[in-house]
Symmetry: C2
Subunit: 559 residues, 2 copies
């Protein structure tokens, strides 16, 4: 068995198997075995391997193995990826502040009953914490329900808030498409009683401003209204208890053809062919707000439907505000947009780009993947990025936490990992040049021969002066360091300036400053007095006028 595993170490890259110290518990061993099962089921594994498993149980006390990886659907972020993602957060949080929002932070887990009954069919994707003798809790599924709970428990009448934090969904991951089990949401929401469509239109404006600011050029914002959608279902003959189910079916139109959705309505969701066909006529409509409104206003089926008429009225108001913000060309009023979540009750929207859609031959690729492995661990090959930002109005959610005293809310959530995957695909080459560290100065010592001690304490003291002046500085962690190694380390650190303590110069009160990145022997640098070092370094740095953060922000904006 362990020989078998050793050979797998060499053949699998993402699932490296390592030895563990001897203190693995029984439970952990069970998990190891379960994890091993999956590896065993992977391609190129003979049926013989499964047979080996039993014998391994005997030897589990001698040594045990486990997978040195992060949990399924999660990953570590580091290096340039981390810098890019941080820059995306920075861009979005200044956007949110620009629109007057304050930020809040809620716990990563909530009392389980807070989340119950908020997510419809998707509730099965919630992560629960183990009952360890206290309260029953679950990891948050989004930031919207915790926000509503926050508004209710603090009796807040109105707030604009943003929240950038991780949420958790036990879904099928598609890692390279930015679809993960642990992922960030960047949410901006407006709670409070305001005039119709005024906050909604600001959110749409912010959505467009946010995506443009991240260099996403080809996005469209699909728009619909739950009141119109529900009115259509009602007017076409769908009974009330089926409305959400039919809404879920319509929501699949971005992935499935109408025929498949119709089949679901008729065979699984209790509708007649006639009702389905009537719905089909509506959900194929899309265009500018005014175009679609014209069609809906003249439609006889909807004429007597109160819900649809209310929605039409609100969309008419919205059209003017969309013009005021100058974003009409981004908007597509699309009656096939339904959104999965239960809590929306007004305007709904999602932003998509070319990368959102699955590949043309998705079904073929999916079947191929399923044939190759019993359980497909990652769906990246046959899904698209999906929507990159989405949201809507949810007027009744706060009321579920406050005895019915509701506060109307509307908001939008940006999917940062998905946006990241698009930016990375777009600017892969330029982003390679980005430095992940922020070091400005590298402090070195030059010397040798008799009595040379490496000036370690001296380098520490000088670096300390630079730190106190707010200058990002490093030095090599060796008592005696040769010149070559110091220059290599300086280059790796991304430092722009070297501060050099010479064996003779430094005791004489002088110190050398030299530009880096221009070949080590390009010039001798300049000699300054020790007490003038900090000022001289500051002058040198400001003359370089190189700001790493600006650089990455320009790249992200696609400039």
């Amino acid at each position: 068995m362990f020989t078998r595993l050793s050979s797998l170490v060499r053949t699998t890259t993402t699932r490296t198997l390592r030895k563990m110290s001897s203190d693995t518990t029984g439970a952990a061993t069970a998990a190891v075995n379960a994890a091993i099962d999956k590896v065993e089921a992977a391609p190129n594994t003979s049926p013989k391997a499964a047979g080996d498993k039993k014998s391994s149980k005997k030897s589990k006390k001698q040594e045990s193995q486990f997978l040195l990886k992060t949990p399924k659907g999660t990953k570590d972020w580091s290096d340039k990826d981390m810098v890019i993602r941080d820059a995306i957060f920075g861009s979005l949080s200044s956007l949110f502040k620009r629109h007057g929002a304050v930020t809040i932070d809620t716990p990563v887990f909530e009392l389980r009953e807070i989340l119950t009954g908020k997510y419809g069919e998707d509730s099965k994707l919630i992560y629960n914490l183990e009952d360890q003798g206290g309260e029953l809790t679950s990891l948050r599924y989004d930031l919207t329900v915790p926000f509503a709970r926050f508004v209710a428990s603090n009796s807040i009448a109105s707030i604009k808030r943003y929240h950038i934090a991780k949420v958790y969904r036990r879904d099928q991951p598609a890692m390279t498409k930015g679809r993960m089990r642990e992922f960030y949401q960047c949410d901006f929401d407006i709670a409070g009683n305001y005039d119709t469509m005024v906050p909604d239109s600001e959110i749409l404006s912010l959505l467009c401003e946010g995506l443009s600011g991240l260099g996403i050029k080809d996005f469209k914002v699909k728009l619909n209204h739950r009141k119109i959608l529900d009115g259509i279902f009602e007017a076409c003959g769908v009974k009330e208890e089926y409305v959400r189910k039919i809404s879920s079916a319509v929501d699949k139109l971005d992935k499935s053809p109408w025929e498949a959705v119709k089949k679901e309505m008729v065979e699984e969701k209790g509708q007649t062919e006639e009702v389905a066909d009537k719905i089909g006529e509506f959900v194929k409509l899309n265009g500018t707000i005014r175009e679609v409104l014209a069609l809906l206003k003249s439609n006889e089926i909807l004429a007597g439907n109160a819900s649809a008429q209310k929605g039409i009225e609100e969309m008419t108001v919205l059209a003017d505000y969309i013009d005021a913000f100058g974003i009409a060309d981004r908007i597509s009023f699309d009656l096939s947009l339904a959104r999965g979540l239960d809590y929306y009750n007004g305007l709904i929207y999602e932003a998509v780009t070319a990368a959102s859609a699955p590949p043309k031959n998705a079904n073929e690729l999916k079947e191929k993947a399923q044939k190759e492995t019993k359980e497909v661990e990652d769906a990246s090959e046959y899904v698209g990025v999906g929507s990159i930002a989405a949201g809507g109005r949810y007027d009744n959610l706060v009321g579920m936490f406050s005895n019915g005293k509701s506060i109307p809310c509307v908001g939008v959530s940006f999917g940062v990992e998905r946006i990241f995957s698009i930016i990375k695909a777009r600017a892969a080459k330029e982003l390679e040049k980005v430095s992940s560290s922020h070091t400005q100065v590298y402090v070195m010592a030059f010397g040798g021969g008799e009595g040379w001690n490496g000036f370690l304490s001296e380098r520490m003291a000088v670096t300390n002066e630079l730190w106190k002046a707010g200058i990002n500085s490093e030095y090599l962690f060796k008592t005696k360091a040769n010149i070559r190694k110091q220059f290599d380390a300086a280059e790796k650190s991304g430092a722009q300036v070297a501060v050099i303590l010479g064996k003779e110069e430094y005791p004489a009160g002088q110190i050398r400053i030299k530009l880096l990145g221009q070949g080590e022997d390009s010039d001798e640098g300049e000699l300054v007095k020790v007490e003038e070092l900090v000022d001289a370094v500051k002058t040198k740095l400001s003359s370089l006028n190189r700001d790493g953060l600006d650089e990455i922000n320009r790249l992200i904006r696609g400039l």
Copy 2:
């Protein structure tokens, strides 16, 4: 029962009970009942209430109740507290960058076996996720073990990294002392093979720089060395298998008198009185590094102990570096410092302030609290803030994940919530003035009479221009808004400048700019051309020279 609960709503502030929609599951109801039990056990609740519980079960299908709160030991952060905490993060992350660190992000949960066997007695405090048919996982307990896993799984030879993120411990909370179950750690670690004590001393320098930068003036850094401590135990006659247990006992000396610790050693941890007394002579030693080193070097008991001599040698090297960084006056070499975690194997340290210690009459207060309630939910009254930053060297942790190929590591972790509680206590009054929003400009419309439509679309368009120019701006979400309400909203938003669209002026191509916060009628403001608005606003804002962030940073630094 429900009447009873209603009356509790009025009497409890932190545990408001609210109605829930009708879809509560059975499990959630059980949790509700459990939670209610705790409320019932609280003071001012008559025994009668407990008797009511059974009858409530009958009616649970009609309506159910739950606690509108965050889970035990967690809290929402918002408003000024959030701004202060963010400023602390900002201060620490620039500190970390100043020292050349890159940042990483790891998942909030890890495969359970990654955490197994790393935390000694504290392992029982780990939160597990429920087994929902996949891998067994647990919430991270610190950022150190995930860092070691990250270093091992990416075969990293050297890295300086910082990580600011939440960790989870099922401990007794003391909320107002910043001791929570969900809390932030701000970690800076150096991994790599370097010369003795060089990275260690940089970490100590960074620790002092970090706390000073947060305005903590009275802190001390207690220092010890695991090799010296283990050598002392060995030389005093403690058998190897008892060393970690005796270390744990010594670790309690900051909360308990020597007599209690000695009793634990003798009665629970298998030592003779003689051995305990010998240890007692050592652990009462503290002073500057050179003072304590002098005592240890001349000590006959330790003379032949290899471990102690190795530690003494390293501390001798450290003393010089501490001087180079100019932090000797902050350091106390304290042989009673032991640190609880298993993985440390070299230098260990923790920073304390006056607020770290529990109140003088802690035992008395604790007994009182326990007499009053069966289960004490919060220990704030009888504990101190504890250490505000701590860390040490752990050379063997990475090796536990990489088949023994270890990478030496040393690091420090800042406890942000604890530091927050100290800053808040120190500067409560000044911090009240801090604004939690970042709005600079409020866009208003003045008008009335016949044909007045409120200029909503116009306010949107003007605000949109300001947003595009990067100016944080808001306007009132009403089609027609009266002047009073717009000024009130502007004041609440913290805006410094009003941009006013007058009923006659705006159609004539002019717009008014007015300073806020100086009384609404103080001046008429100045009239500019619409196309010059953005530039005029920028000029006005820069003339104010008021930077909210600078203000909060000055407050935090205690200037």
